[in-house]
């Protein structure tokens, strides 16, 4: 029996609808060639026109073949709403519009037998952010004067590395009344309190990665800001490993150990130590999941850096062979500390979780003093690729968890011994300095940020589900793709300049916040200078409630 084909995919099932105006379109083809997702195509429509060419009406019908642009109703090519078509159209003839009646989640799974995946960001539902209910509310006045952000000197550095309690410092008091360090202390670097978070060279296009590295080198060498970047899982170009710029990079190892073959082979040729080693146990955006690099993004240079064929690269959810915190401490930390002859701090990154404090406690009490940093990644963090189900339904916000860890350290008198670094949606509203500052006050030594760098590079995605196609390898901005044509859309010099400028701005703004509370060094743990307009937040974080 013939039926209406109700189960066929229609454009109004998709999350975005393409709105097209034939009258304005000159058929230049720009939009079609610019849409990296193949979500629009030209086609010819049969048009019926009735007209009359006599004085009295004698309607005639004519049919014509009219070329138009139309949305593709193929699941693989659904429109992401990235808006590139609109950007390139000289006549404002095309744009995309969010489809409130989308049936996408249902039809996708019904068709593919697997859930949708996306990349970019977790937090598609934007709720009021905890950090936005906080203000710096203790302002120095009168007897305790504010400082001058322009004129006074400020010490804006944070430790990365294990800090010994003062009574364990290997000091000898000489006859001249001077203390001399006569033993070994764990390696520690003072760095800028904002690290550019771990985005791997596979997740990012080579131009984007290059842009970040250029920005970091410039910030260090020209601007005097010791900003560090974390490699992400997947190694680094060997040339960079052997260069002096390695000192600005924190090397990451995750459960897939991707890229470490090359790193180990490059070790004898390294002229500088890396800034640190970060062992990634978990990631805030998709806790419990390992890394995921879709085959589409495994270009030849990625294959060679990682030593893998072109296929989906999945890191296991945990490090094989690590069954307890003690083991992770003993095995991984010792081997990495030893690998760099105890000159490089080794830190750990975990996803914020209801159990973070126990993990932290175990590490802070370890008698070997080798864990050099606790990186806590919250739910709002970005990701290159993940299943929607993990993004939407797992995770833990970072703010209260960071506070819990700091307070756990305080309760044991061990604050500062393992520096706390926090991330997860910081800078989401564009002001990283404010978010970072509030996190310092709550106990973070520093913060790390990733997604914001993509924004600075011109990422078209947003928190309202726009684009978020970083997993597809078809990034329309050339940021998270290995497709040469798309990569060429990105101007690495411009991106590097944006990042540098942004950091210079952040640095000024940090001073602008330190000055009014009268502090010339980072106010780590100074929750007394925060207030909250939300009673529940105030109680939870133990800051003053105000109204």
């Amino acid at each position: 029996m013939e039926t209406v084909k109700i189960n066929d995919l229609a454009c109004n099932d998709l999350p975005w609808k393409v709105i097209y105006d034939t009258k304005r379109c000159t058929l230049c083809g720009s939009c079609v060639s610019a849409c990296s997702f193949g979500a629009i195509k030209p086609k010819v429509e049969r048009r019926r026109k009735s007209f009359s060419d006599t004085e009295t009406p004698e309607p005639k019908i004519s049919f014509s073949a009219t070329p138009v642009i139309t949305q593709v109703n193929i699941l693989k090519h659904f429109c992401r709403g990235c808006g590139v078509c609109e950007r390139v159209c000289p006549n404002s003839a095309i744009r995309s519009e969010r489809n409130p009646d989308s049936r996408f989640n249902v039809v996708y799974q019904a068709t593919t037998a697997s859930g949708p995946k996306r990349g970019g960001r977790n937090n598609l539902e934007v709720q009021a952010r905890t950090l936005d209910t906080l203000r710096v509310g203790r302002i120095s006045q009168m007897t305790d004067p504010s400082l001058d952000a322009e004129r006074h000197t400020f010490d804006c550095l944070a430790p990365l590395g294990r800090v010994l309690p003062a009574q364990n410092l290997p000091f000898t008091l000489g006859p001249d009344g001077k203390l001399t360090k006569t033993g070994q202390t764990p390696p520690l670097n003072w760095i800028y309190p904002i690290i550019i978070g771990d985005m791997s060279i596979g997740a990012l296009s080579w131009r984007m990665w290059e842009a970040v590295s250029m920005a970091v080198a410039y910030l260090n060498e020209e601007c005097g800001l010791p900003v560090r970047q974390c490699s992400g899982e997947g190694g680094m170009p060997v040339r960079l490993l052997k260069s002096k710029y390695l000192k600005y990079v924190i090397l990451q190892i995750a459960s897939g150990h991707f890229g470490w073959n090359r790193i180990i082979k490059a070790m004898p040729h390294m002229v500088e130590d890396p800034a640190g080693v970060l062992i990634k146990i978990g990631q805030g955006a998709k806790p419990g999941d390992g890394g995921l690099l879709m085959a589409a993004k495994v270009a030849s240079h990625i294959q060679s850096i990682r030593g893998v064929p072109k296929s989906d690269l999945l890191s296991p959810p945990n490090h094989q062979g690590l069954y307890s915190i003690e083991e992770s401490v003993q095995k991984m930390f010792l081997s990495f500390n030893a690998a760099f002859k105890f000159r490089v701090p080794v830190a750990i990154k975990v996803a914020a979780s209801a159990t973070s404090v126990s993990v932290f406690n175990n590490l802070v009490r370890d008698p070997y003093n080798i864990v050099g940093g606790f990186f806590l990644d919250g739910i709002d963090g970005g990701t290159g690729a993940a299943h929607d189900i993990s993004l939407d339904h797992t995770g833990h916000p970072v703010v209260s968890k960071l506070r819990d860890c700091y307070q756990a350290a305080c309760a044991q008198g061990r604050q500062g011994q393992i520096p706390l670094w926090a991330a997860g949606g910081l800078g989401k509203t564009g002001n990283l300095a404010a978010d970072a500052f509030k996190m310092f006050c709550l106990g973070a030594n520093g913060v790390f940020t990733g997604k914001l760098m993509l924004q600075l590079a011109g990422c078209l995605g947003n928190e309202h589900s726009r684009c978020n196609a970083c997993n597809t390898g078809l990034c329309p901005a050339g940021i998270t793709t290995q497709e040469p044509l798309l990569v060429k859309r990105l101007n690495p010099d411009k991106v590097a300049e944006n990042i540098v400028n942004y950091f210079l701005g952040v640095d000024k703004e940090l001073r602008k916040l330190m000055a009014p509370i009268g502090n010339s060094s980072l106010p780590v743990g100074r929750s007394d200078c925060l207030i909250s307009t939300d009673k529940a937040v105030a109680d939870r974080l133990q800051v003053q409630y105000v109204c």
Binding site: S140, T143, D144, P145, L147, H152, T153, D155, L157, P159, V163, L164, P165, A166, Q167, L169, F171, L173, G177, K178, L179, T180, K181, T185, L188, W190, C410, A411, Q412, G413, Q415, G416, I517, G518, N519, S520, S521, P523, V524, G525, R526, S527, D528, C529
Partner: protein, 368 residues
């Protein structure tokens, strides 16, 4: 704002000198109290230098509680002095029923104890008394230590001086080291414990200023030592940091500045001792201070010192004669009690030094 002062002399000095030192600066403080610590005692206490003296202000009930605790622990009283008080109507003073200054002999079981253990016993005893008196606010115990007397009272310092008969100099109640301050804690609740100078195991500090890293300091210090408590004033943190560094860690005085106001990183990396300085900064990041302040202090051996915050946001002057050195927030205080001195040799300490005076009155300026 606070005004603080300190006198260190080769001769025994009567507290009236301290009152004069502070009274001349009265426009700068709010006359809300008077507190002083006398160390290296002369007069009637001169014969008891090695025996602990209790300084206590309390009710009758508080006195009973204290006597009981000391009795049970086996302390035997060997000397006592009660100031003759002269109360007149209209005086601005919140007096306590009893002011107790009593000197004790150590209990018998202390005979074979090390000096350090005896000192711990004294501190633990004071903390026990403090806790017992706190319950119904029956008293305040300020110090229990050899060769130290502490007096704190709320009210107008001039009336407090008259009340205790401190304006008339005499030979019987004197010390070679006196630190004094004329303001109750006006930032927070008025509590006797909140008045500087603060005392712990021979260490004294008093401060003109504020500590905006109070919360960090406090959270860190409160787990370090049972004597680091109270925190009624943000300035107590300065004392605890000194005590922790000097007594617990055994580091010399010169490292105090490196802990509380570390050098900027750009300067540290140029120094020969950068490894040590960075290690100190890392390990004691939570003892760093911020905010405007001048801190005067003494060590258990009566060495007197003064430091300022890293931006020198509070004043301090050091003036001296052959036999006396005076620290004062304002120079008018020194003019008052050392009128004949050579004022050209006055020292205005800068933000990166510690000025130290030893028992021979040798004045040294140590650059951080």
């Amino acid at each position: 704002m606070c005004r603080i002062g300190a006198i260190k002399s080769l001769n025994y000095v009567h507290p009236s000198t301290a009152l004069h030192l502070m009274n001349s600066q009265q426009k700068g403080h709010d006359n809300s109290g008077f507190a002083m610590v006398m160390q290296d005692l002369g007069g009637i206490f001169a014969d008891y230098k090695d025996k602990p003296t209790l300084s206590l202000a309390c009710t009758d009930e508080g006195l009973q509680i204290t006597e009981e605790i000391l009795g049970v622990l086996g302390f035997r009283q060997v000397f006592q002095w009660a100031p003759e008080t002269n109360w007149k109507p209209g005086m601005d003073i919140k007096k306590m029923p009893n002011y107790v200054f009593r000197t004790f002999d150590y209990p018998d079981y202390c005979r074979d104890m090390s000096q350090r253990d005896k000192e711990e016993l004294l501190t633990n005893t004071r903390l026990r008394i403090r806790a017992a008196l706190e319950k119904d606010e029956t008293g305040f115990v300020y110090s229990f230590w050899p060769d130290v007397i502490t007096l704190k009272e709320i009210g107008d310092p001039r009336d407090i001086g008259t009340f205790f008969g401190l304006w008339e100099p005499d030979e019987s109640f004197t010390a070679r080291t006196i630190t004094a301050q004329c303001r109750q804690n006006t930032n927070y609740a008025i509590v006797r414990y909140a008045a500087h100078p603060f005392f712990l195991q021979g260490y004294v500090t008093l401060t003109n200023g504020e500590n905006t890293f109070y919360q960090k300091n406090k959270e860190f210090q409160s787990t370090l030592h049972p004597g680091y408590l109270g925190f009624e004033s943000d300035s107590q943190c300065f004392l605890y940091t000194m005590h922790y560094m000097h007594r617990r860690l055994g580091w010399p005085l010169q490292y105090y500045k490196h802990i509380i106001t570390p050098l900027p990183f750009e300067e540290v990396v140029k120094r020969e001792d950068k490894e040590e300085l960075l290690a100190i900064r890392q390990s004691l990041a939570h003892l760093e201070i911020n905010g405007p302040n001048t801190i005067i202090g003494t060590l258990p051996d009566f060495t007197m010192w003064v430091v300022c915050d890293a931006k020198k946001l509070r004043p301090i002057v050091v003036g001296r004669t052959e036999d006396t050195v005076v620290f004062s927030s304002e120079v008018c205080g020194i003019n008052e009690i050392l009128p004949g001195r050579d004022w050209e040799s006055d020292i205005y300490p800068n933000e990166r030094e510690i000025v130290v005076v030893d028992n021979n009155l040798e004045v040294q300026r140590w650059k951080q």
